[in-house]
């Protein structure tokens, strides 16, 4: 998982990440989804 204000779909593909979030809260939402919390 990668994150930050500059991240978008292209950077996700370029880095081979599974998912990205624009801010910390998006990261929390993703993590919850992944661990099913």
């Amino acid at each position: 998982m990668i994150g930050g204000g500059q991240i978008n779909e292209e950077i996700k593909k370029y880095t081979g990440a599974d998912a990205y979030g624009r801010d910390a809260m998006a990261g929390v939402a993703l993590a919850k989804e992944w661990v099913g919390g």
Binding site: G5, Q6, N8, E10, I11, Y14, R22, D23
Partner: protein, 415 residues
Amino acid sequence: MAKAPEELYQEREKRVSDAIQLKVPDRVPFLPFFSFFPAKYAGISFKEAMYDYDKLAEVSKKAIIDFQPDMYLNPYGLISVGPTLEALDYKQLKWPGHGVDPNLTYQFVEGEYMKAEEYDAFLFDPSGFMIRTIFPRICGILEPFKMLPSIPSAYYLRIVPRVAVLGIPEVAAAFKRLLKAGAEAQRMMAEARSFVEEMEELGFPTQFGSTGYAPFDYIGDFLRGTRGIMLDMYRNPDKLLEAIEKVLPIMIEGGVAAKRAGIPRVFIPLHKGAHGFMSLEQFNTFYWPTLHKLMLALIDEGLTPCPLFEGDYTDRLEIIKDIPKGKAIYSFEHTDIFKAKEVLGDRVCIRGNVPASLLCTGTPQEVRDYCKKLIDVVGRGGGFIMDGAIGIPDEAKPENVRAMADFTREYGVYH
């Protein structure tokens, strides 16, 4: 027959001015906001660009001639500040070769340069507070300025003991070093002026005559720090609002300097008003009112405010729409620029927003595809200027910048 530089200069001015006034120009203007890209493109280090005035002129000229922007960004104000900052022992920034790798861009040093309990001191006398409290914190050589007396206290014969402070060896030494920094800055400014003249002779106008700042960002970036000002919105809202109002005339005065420069466009980079930093209610309370007043004051002076909305403002487009028609340029980064065209298209010229990721990692064809969409949708009927989302990234592939430039010149023609 090739056009004379003066003719090209006038054509470029008119192209941009038509876009600002929401008329249909002959074609979409191309205004790339370069930072260290010309240095990288021409093969010198970022550090050299920051310290060597001649080399900076050389690489900037090369990029301007190779990519033919309709207007260029004078590189001196943002790049060749190394020698003067060094002379000041400046602390609010790390730069290439000074705290940062010689080939990386500069880095702002976040900090609480003004404490929460110092609002009253700032509000009482911003100049005195700046000179005696902030300068000693942000410039190593001005550390002794904290010994300086309050200026208004030097009345009548009290002027003698107050002036005596200047005779204290540390204070005297600080002034001497400050004079040196001043001489260095003068050298740099002279180079900057001669660069403008040289580009004018080649037919290229410059983008901005001065820079302004949203009063909230002034307090948040330079004095309180991001953390400090975010807390102040909850803990100290009244003082914060007072300080923002106090800063407004200072920002107007700085922006109006563009008139003396004879270049009517005022650059206003915006930092903390985005969706990711504050709610709509906070935006309406703390950020927008003074930014709005700043832009209206500049427009009243016959100037063109050019705010760069860094981050995402999609949910606040209706608010920022409140601006006289055809009098400003709004640059967008992550804001949905197509939505921006829908909301703002009949009000204000839009500039942007080829993503940094695309310019750094994409192919020329992908860049052309994105530019096509921008020209087709945002460029429809005029009122659009092509640029990167946050200017041209230092690491952009030259072939992508070329694709952007050439495609805009060819496909961006209005029929």
